[in-house]
């Protein structure tokens, strides 16, 4: 691995008796797009706040850009761009002013920030909203503005906590496109998400977290390869019959997962499996063949779905 920008060993955070992050190890390399995937409450945001040098660990080692956040918080934060889970823009100021004051917080010269603002507005597709009050923006626009704001200081590491939660599909795709461009420019990204498609789209490598622990680590493709089959067949027999047929189905493929509304069947060839089911006189009400995703990896590792 090339030079590592972030390195955690035995990283632990407790809130009273509750262990939010339980002795985890990971490294993030320069230029990498690193993801933390897991359900709500897995400890992702807590990890982000520790990397962001605003929350201190209780045990373990954490090095960011070669420095210890406990001792060098401001020196580390100088090189981070932080997009928190909840937008915390200044509602009383305009779009431009929000970018301006944030640039000033980094001690950037007024002239530099003013020049930078045009660039950021173009990037965030907010040129026409430059003088609008933040309050009047849509959710997607606020999110893009928060990301643009985090870029004002040209950070080495951009940290995004659930960047697209709460956005409609179109707004999400615009955002993914913007993030992809940043990645192409060599910005290191650290992203938390509970959307598997987001993780697959954006992350070179990710850790799957649950209950403060790392369940698995790897690229999206290698995780799918290691923890799932090539394809998944989803069948529905109606909620009362799913259970009934489960035993029969189990014998037909590598592995099944019973969900409340459907049964997932893991196989290398979904169509062939579906034919086999019809041949044995079972008639699912609906069926769908798809490729395995990180959702399946998570299900396999924890026995639970990501969004519950």
């Amino acid at each position: 691995m090339s030079e590592s920008l972030i390195s955690a060993r035995g990283l632990t955070k407790k809130f009273g008796d509750f262990t939010a992050v339980d002795s985890i190890d990971f490294d993030v390399a320069k230029g990498e797009s690193f993801g933390l995937l897991g359900p709500n409450g897995a400890g992702k945001s807590t990890v982000m706040r520790m990397i962001g040098a605003t929350s201190q660990r209780n045990a373990g080692e954490l090095t960011i850009l070669g420095k210890d956040p406990e001792k060098n918080g401001p020196q580390i934060r100088a090189h981070l761009g932080v997009v928190p889970q909840q937008d915390n823009l200044d509602m009383q100021l305009s779009v431009t002013e929000n970018l301006y004051i944030y640039g000033r917080y980094f001690g950037l010269p007024r002239k530099f920030v003013k020049g930078k603002i045009d660039e950021l507005l173009t990037f965030a597709q907010l040129e026409e909203k430059r003088d609008a009050k933040v309050e009047a923006l849509s959710g997607g626009m606020k999110r893009r503005l928060t990301i643009a704001r985090a870029l004002v200081s040209e950070p080495e590491i951009l940290m995004l906590d659930e960047p697209t939660t709460g956005l409609d599909p179109q707004a999400r795709h615009i955002l993914w496109d913007r993030l992809f461009r940043l990645k192409e420019q060599g910005v290191t990204l650290v992203i938390t998400t509970h959307f598997m498609d987001e993780a697959e789209q954006l992350c070179d490598r990710l850790i799957v977290m649950d209950k403060g622990k790392i369940m698995a680590e790897g690229s999206p493709t290698s995780l799918i390869k290691d923890f799932s089959t090539k394809e998944v067949l989803e069948v529905r027999f109606g909620s009362d019959r799913n259970q009934e047929v489960a035993d029969k189905l189990r014998s037909m493929c590598e592995r099944i997962e019973e969900l409340p509304d459907r049964v997932l069947m893991y196989t290398e060839d979904g169509e062939a499996l579906l034919e086999k089911i019809y041949a044995s006189a079972l008639h699912p009400k609906t069926s769908l063949v798809r490729r395995s995703s990180l959702e399946d990896v998570f299900l396999r590792l924890t026995g639970r779905t990501l969004i519950e």
Partner: protein, 279 residues
């Protein structure tokens, strides 16, 4: 179209030592920007407030008092001369409080803007001091405007009347600093506003020797004055502007009480800001 052409990177752009030295001023700069959004309302209040007081209390009540007890009736001077330092200090306290309490609750709770400031190299203490500096500025111009209106009304006969300006500002920032620390600690601001308005601001205004000497109150009520920045500043102001008789010791006491409030308020606020942001 939207590639950043000349990316220099934060390691080239950001000077941490500079931020460590000037961070509080960056926060104050942002606060002033927000203040400017409300400037007409702030100035309107800052001017209308003294006009209303001078007409009702000064001319109305003052006229009545001066007529019935003579122009040297209250503490040896005209009622308005007696009243002026107190009204100035009261305006300073109100202005300082508005500019510390609301922004602090907003920053932690309503819009969580302090958390975004703290994700930059700024520290909790710098954010706290920055908010205070902006409040300091507002206190200064509120008092100057108030003084200007008094002057225009011919309410200042002492040639040393301007000496009540620094004492009023002192009262404002001392109380403002303390209330900023209290606001930073708050989880539920609704109850706080009820208590602040009815059980703190109102009694302080009425029982701090504002409208009559504190000594004319029954002894068991005088303690309100002793803990009130308004009384301490008013005593200082009266002594400086028209020679209201107080001992050198009491001068020191008034000065030190206000100074203690200011220093402890600033210290506590910086501490509470830091803790709450890193929780």
């Amino acid at each position: 179209m939207s590639t950043f052409t000349t990316r220099r990177g934060s390691s080239q752009l950001v000077d941490t030592a500079k931020i460590q030295a000037r961070g509080a001023f960056y926060v104050a700069e942002a606060r002033v920007r927000i203040m400017l959004k409300w400037i007409w309302m702030i100035l309107g209040i800052a001017i209308a407030n003294p006009i209303l007081y001078l007409i009702s209390v000064g001319i109305g009540l003052g006229g009545l008092i001066d007529k019935s007890v003579g122009p040297a009736g209250v503490d040896g001077v005209k009622y308005l001369t007696f009243l002026a330092p107190a009204l100035l200090a009261q305006a300073a306290i109100q202005g300082a409080m508005d500019e510390t309490v609301y922004p602090t609750i907003e920053g932690f709770k309503w819009h969580k803007t302090f958390y975004s400031m703290n994700s930059t190299p700024l520290s909790g203490a710098q954010i706290s001091i920055g908010v205070f500096l902006a409040a300091f500025l507002r206190t200064i111009y509120t008092v100057l405007l108030y003084f200007g209106v008094m002057w225009a009304f011919g309410a200042l006969d002492s040639p040393k009347a301007w000496l009540a300006i620094p004492t009023a500002i002192f009262a404002g920032i001392s109380f403002g600093a303390l209330m900023q620390a209290v606001a930073a600690k708050l989880e539920n601001e609704n109850i706080f506003f009820v208590i602040l308005g009815r059980f703190i601001m109102m009694p302080l205004f009425l029982f701090s020797g504002t409208f009559f000497p504190l000594s004319s109150m029954p002894f068991f009520l005088q303690w309100i004055g002793w803990v009130s920045p308004l009384w301490h500043a008013t005593e200082l102001g009266r002594s400086l502007t028209y020679g209201h008789a107080i001992s050198a010791t009491m001068m020191w006491v008034h000065f030190l009480v206000l100074l203690t409030m200011l220093v402890s308020g600033l210290y506590l606020s910086a501490r509470i800001f830091t803790r709450r942001l890193t929780k």
